[in-house]
Amino acid sequence: MSDAELVARARKGDQTAFGELIDRHRVAVYRATLAALGSHADAEDAAQDAFLTAYRRLDTFRGEASFKTWLLTIAWHQAINRRRSLSRIWRGMVQARTTEEAEVVMSTVAATSPTPEQSARGEQLRRRIRDAIHALSPKLRDTLLLAQSGDYSYEEIGAILKTPLGTVKWRVSEARRLVRRALEAWGYDTAI
């Protein structure tokens, strides 16, 4: 059954049909909100709010874009509003928590590395890349993370960010270039 058919059934009050839409798109919505917020807890809350808002606004969905794109646009707005509402202190806490989560991931990866020296180098490189991505402007960082999540096409990213396709591609390229330049400044080989 297609999304359009599920939407039509959900509009008539079939909550099971909307539950099916949730199952289909929950990962894509969640990763979009995670790209904007950087925190798993906040991302899950924003994703729930996005589905709730979409359910309430089903009547306004005209089918001009795909349901996924429409849903992702709602989710992105929810995430950006939540990100704006975070105070500087709270943002710092989120950054710290994200860093802690990164440490766990890096430790896990490092444990599987062949040698302690290689794992240490790999861990440091990941940290540098993360720092460089965090240092990007929000527009470049959001576009890069959405593009690299693997869940969205460039057209979908353009629809989410309300940005032309060419601008999306330029932002991804520019973000990569700036991260490479930061790595060069730290003495890394940019052929990575």
Binding site: I22, A43, V105, I129, R130
Partner: protein, 189 residues
């Protein structure tokens, strides 16, 4: 380890297993989406508005009730607030009546000395005080006596005839002659 791989890891993950159940429960309960942005975009202006209202309340209601201490005026019987100017010489003295201050200001209009400036400040303070006293404090409105409803007094113009004074009749002159010595003796006898 490349940039794309790290960026991909930064958005890796899936929502919890109960995600669908949570959303469906919120839909069933009719809960509205949490709007955390209210904290900064709505509550902050509301807090500013509340502060402005408190400031208005303080300046309009509380501040007028905080009158300075008063002393009885010597002639008029009205209470006059103590002069509160920055000039130390005026501290603790009752402000002079407005008319007297105006006269003093007029008399020293030509000079620019400190006495003239002090007199001008006093006249200005008296004027301000007169304006403040003409309007009762809002807190006293409840106990204020009602205004008298009386027709204004009118006077007729005085004609020149009423002011005319008749001339007095002329008195005839009297001749007096000095007394002689013989007349004095005769009176003693």
């Amino acid at each position: 380890m490349g940039i794309d791989e790290v960026a991909s890891q930064m958005t890796a993950g899936e929502p919890g297993l109960a995600f669908r159940a949570h959303v469906m429960a919120r839909i069933a309960s009719g809960a509205a989406p949490r709007r955390s942005w209210r904290a900064s975009f709505v509550l902050a202006p509301a807090a500013v508005l509340a502060l402005v209202m408190v400031a208005i309340f303080v300046t309009r209601v509380i501040a007028p009730n905080l009158q300075p201490p008063t002393v009885a005026g010597p002639d008029t019987g009205n209470d006059q607030p103590l002069a509160a100017g920055g000039d130390g010489g005026n501290m603790g003295r009752a402000a002079p009546p407005p008319a007297a201050s105006a006269i003093g200001q007029t008399a020293r209009a030509g000079s620019n000395g400190p006495l003239a400036r002090a007199t001008a400040r006093t006249a200005h303070g008296a004027s301000t005080m007169r304006n403040d006293r003409s309007r009762p404090a809002p807190a006293l409105d409840l106990i204020a006596t009602p205004l008298l409803d009386a027709t204004p007094l009118t006077t007729e113009p005085i004609s020149a005839d009423l002011l005319r004074i008749d001339r007095l009749d002329s008195i005839p002159t009297m001749d007096v002659a000095p007394l002689g010595i013989d007349d004095e003796r005769r009176r003693q006898e």
